[in-house]
């Protein structure tokens, strides 16, 4: 008899608990109804990529010495460096250079290791194409600079959440010169006590790989 009553009690408690959870869930979704949309209306609005964004690679033909370091550090030896040895001058003569962005994983190793800094990352990410072969960029295509989101008159440039001033959640209508929340690396550096010359040298070189 008591076993049965206990069963009924447990069953009821289960049902009430389930209903309670349901009500809590409904509370969450109902609360979301009054929140502002957080979406970016993409073709008309775009987020400004962060400063260390790894987009399509830019390449300067004239700086390249055809050393092929980029090929060696690439996980799949992707860059194609087409050079011939000039017997008369005993120097490499670069003829063509290409990277296939249909295969590239944008790891940035080539940019990191290039001795003459002829490779760099851009903030271009719109690489959609009708044909995958058109993603194989030669040295002319690699030398083009992308249109910046901030300078495109057809696009409303929006700051990402971390670049917004303190307490601001909506990037619309934020003053572009308003500082982001928290301190910039330079400001953090300024607060640090001036240390010995050995440690002083490292942060400045890290700031901009010239």
């Amino acid at each position: 008899m008591f076993g049965f009553l206990k069963k009924v009690g447990d069953y009821t408690r289960d049902a009430v608990g389930a209903a309670n959870y349901l009500a809590q869930g409904l509370g969450v979704t109902f609360d979301h109804l009054r929140r502002r949309p957080i979406t970016v209306q993409y073709p008309y609005e775009k987020l400004i990529p962060s400063e260390r964004y790894r987009g399509r690679i830019h390449y300067e033909f004239d700086k390249c010495i055809a050393c092929e370091v980029c090929v060696r550090v690439c996980p799949i030896n992707l860059p194609v460096v087409d050079w011939v040895m000039n017997k008369a001058t005993k120097k490499k003569e670069l003829r063509n250079y290409s990277i296939d962005f249909g295969v590239c994983i944008f790891c940035g190793n080539c940019v990191e290791y290039c001795p003459t800094n002829c490779l760099s990352m851009t903030e271009e990410y719109e690489l959609a194409a009708f044909d995958r072969h058109s993603l194989n960029f030669d040295n002319v295509a690699l030398g083009r600079l992308p249109t910046s989101v901030t300078s495109d008159p057809a696009v409303v440039a929006l700051k990402e959440l971390v670049y917004l001033p303190k307490g601001v959640m909506d990037p619309h209508g934020v003053d572009p010169s308003a500082p982001r929340a928290g301190k910039l690396p330079e400001e953090v550096l300024a607060t640090l006590p001036q240390a010995t010359p050995t440690t002083q040298a490292t942060p400045t070189t890290e700031e901009t790989p010239s």
Partner: protein, 382 residues
Amino acid sequence: MVTIPALAQVAQVGLDLEGSFELAMRSLGLSPGAAHLLWLPLPMVLVLVAAVVGVLVNVWLERKISAAVQQRIGPEYAGALGVLQPMADGMKLLFKEDVIPARADGLLFTLGPVLVLVPVILSWLVVPFGQNLLISNVGIGIFLWIALSSIQPIGLLMSGYASNNKYSLLGGLRAAAQSISYEIPLALAVLAVVMMSNSLSTVDIVNQQSGAGILSWNIWRQPVGFVIFWICALAECERLPFDLPEAEEELVAGYQTEYSGMKFALFYLGSYINLVLSALLVSVLYLGGWGFPVPVEWLAGWLGQSVDAPLVQLITASVGIVMTVLKAYLLVFFAILLRWTVPRVRIDQLLDLGWKFLLPIALVNLLVTASLKLAFPMAFGG
């Protein structure tokens, strides 16, 4: 100008659109038979239009509320706030190629969606928007709806089987199993209400709740029945959390997998009309139908107006329609919110819930209602 005396004449027996229309036609010089013939197609067209407009509003609400819950904007370019988006969807489906798979059974494949849609539209026959604002006040009203909704699983199973596709077949079988098992607690919940109002007619059920405004609504006397009915209605409409027949993660789109163009649109239309219909019936059975939270007769009395005055009659009818639609769409809103709140149940959990939880509770509810009716005939419609 002809209609005003005619309206006043029929106002003695309540707002009677049919009578006043026929009177107006006859005063224009038509024979009674011709006047009746002119009247006949009007309610049918009206209900068809009401059902389709209801679906358009429903689709728009679904997309906008879904967007709001997920902090998106939703459709906004087709018309102001995207109100024309459902129209655009419908137009797209209208122009899409109608494909019948090569190895499918053409006849059954075509018949399936029709068999799903027709009973749902037919059920609108018994939905009252006012004392005389329904197509036909059949004595077996609510029973007719339950009977008609049993035809739907046949259509679903038929289209699933005829598609010659394993996902379609599984979806069709699930739809049939789900509809049949949730029909029983649904009918039992309705039975308790019917027992209290001593009638199967939807108009009588609403009238029985209209005594003291919001306090006399059935939801206070049948809270358990209300919950059971709403859960079962969601399952019958294949809404989340019970959308197993079209669970896209496992069954592509269930019985709809092979459908495109207008046949798919029929399924789409059917499911949304069914949702609106279920919401309307919940408001009729449990939320006082067209009744205003404060009885309109009391309001008219406080304002010193006669209930039978033509203007008051007109206002009463309008308030009735607005209240019915408002209650129904509040329930639709709740269903959409529920869609983004709860995850889909498994098929075994679904059948467990139907047979082991809802069915016994519905039976107990029925028995308790019966004994309460015997014990307190005043409050429980003895």
